[in-house]
Symmetry: C2
Subunit: 141 residues, 2 copies
C-alpha cells in the first residue's frame, strides 16, 4: 500500500506529464523547482542545467504545432528524507498532419520536498530504440 507521501509524489509526477501533454510552460513552472542547478535531459539531448535554460528548452519543444498524448506507465516511486526518485515509462503519441507516431521513452525524475511541496529538480528521458528497431524492421520487410 502506498504511503501518503508516495501518493503525493506520484501526483506531482502525473502533473509533470499533464504539463508535457498540454505543452504548457506555465504548467511546467508549477512543477519545477526554479533553481540554477536543476537539470534536464530530453530524449537524445545533452544535459541542460539551470531552470532558465531548462524552461527555454520546453518553450522550444512546445513551439511546434504537433499535438500529443503522454501517459506514464510502470511508475515506481521511492523517497528518502526530502528527495524522491521516480522511474517510469513514457508512452507518447505524436499526431502529425495525417498520421500518428507512438514512441516509448524511459524516464528518471528526481523531486525535492521544498516547503512541503514536491518539486521536480531533475528529468532524464531516453528513447527505447527497441520499439523503433521493430518498426524499422517492419518497414524494411
Amino acid at each position: 500500500m502506498k504511503s501518503e507521501n508516495e501518493t503525493r509524489i506520484e501526483e506531482k509526477n502525473a502533473e509533470f506529464y499533464k504539463a508535457l501533454e498540454a505543452q504548457s510552460v506555465q504548467k511546467m513552472d508549477a512543477v519545477w523547482l526554479q533553481e540554477e542547478w536543476v537539470s534536464c535531459v530530453h530524449p537524445g539531448w545533452e544535459m541542460i542545467v539551470g531552470w532558465k535554460d531548462v524552461r527555454s528548452t520546453w518553450e522550444k519543444i512546445f513551439s511546434g504545432s504537433q499535438k500529443m498524448r503522454v501517459s506514464p506507465a510502470d511508475v515506481n516511486v521511492r523517497s528518502s528524507g526530502d528527495i524522491a526518485w521516480v522511474t517510469c515509462v513514457e508512452n507518447i503519441t505524436v499526431f502529425q498532419e495525417d498520421r500518428f507516431d507512438s514512441i516509448q521513452a524511459v524516464a528518471t525524475n528526481i523531486y525535492m520536498n521544498r516547503n512541503d511541496a514536491w518539486m521536480l529538480i531533475h528529468h532524464h528521458a531516453s528513447p527505447i530504440p527497441v520499439i523503433m528497431a521493430e518498426t524499422a524492421t517492419e518497414t524494411v520487410q
Copy 2:
C-alpha cells in the same frame, strides 16, 4: 570548494566508471547497493529493476571481448540527507578489431548513504546522438 561529502560521492562515481572500464562485475558489486529495488537504464535499453537483474546485464555487457576506455566529464554532484545525485558526460572509446569508436553518453547516477558508504542505487545513461551523427557524416565523406 567541494565538501568532504561531495568528494566522497565523486570518488564513488569514479569507482563506478573504473568498474565499467575494467568490465568487472566484482568491481560493480562493490559500487552498487544490492537491493531488489535498485534500477538501471543502459543506453538504449529499458529499465532494469533489482540488483540480481541489473548484475546480469553487466555480466552480459562485459561478456564481449571489446576493450574500452571510459572517463566521466562535466561531473556535477548534489546531495541532500542520505541521497546524492550525480550527472555527468560519459566519454567512451570502444576498441574494435582494427579500429575504435568514440561515443558520448549522458548519465544520471543516484547514490544512497548506507552505513557511511555511498552506494549506487540508480544508473540511467543515454547516448547523445548528435556526436554519433557527426561521426557518421565523417564516415560517409
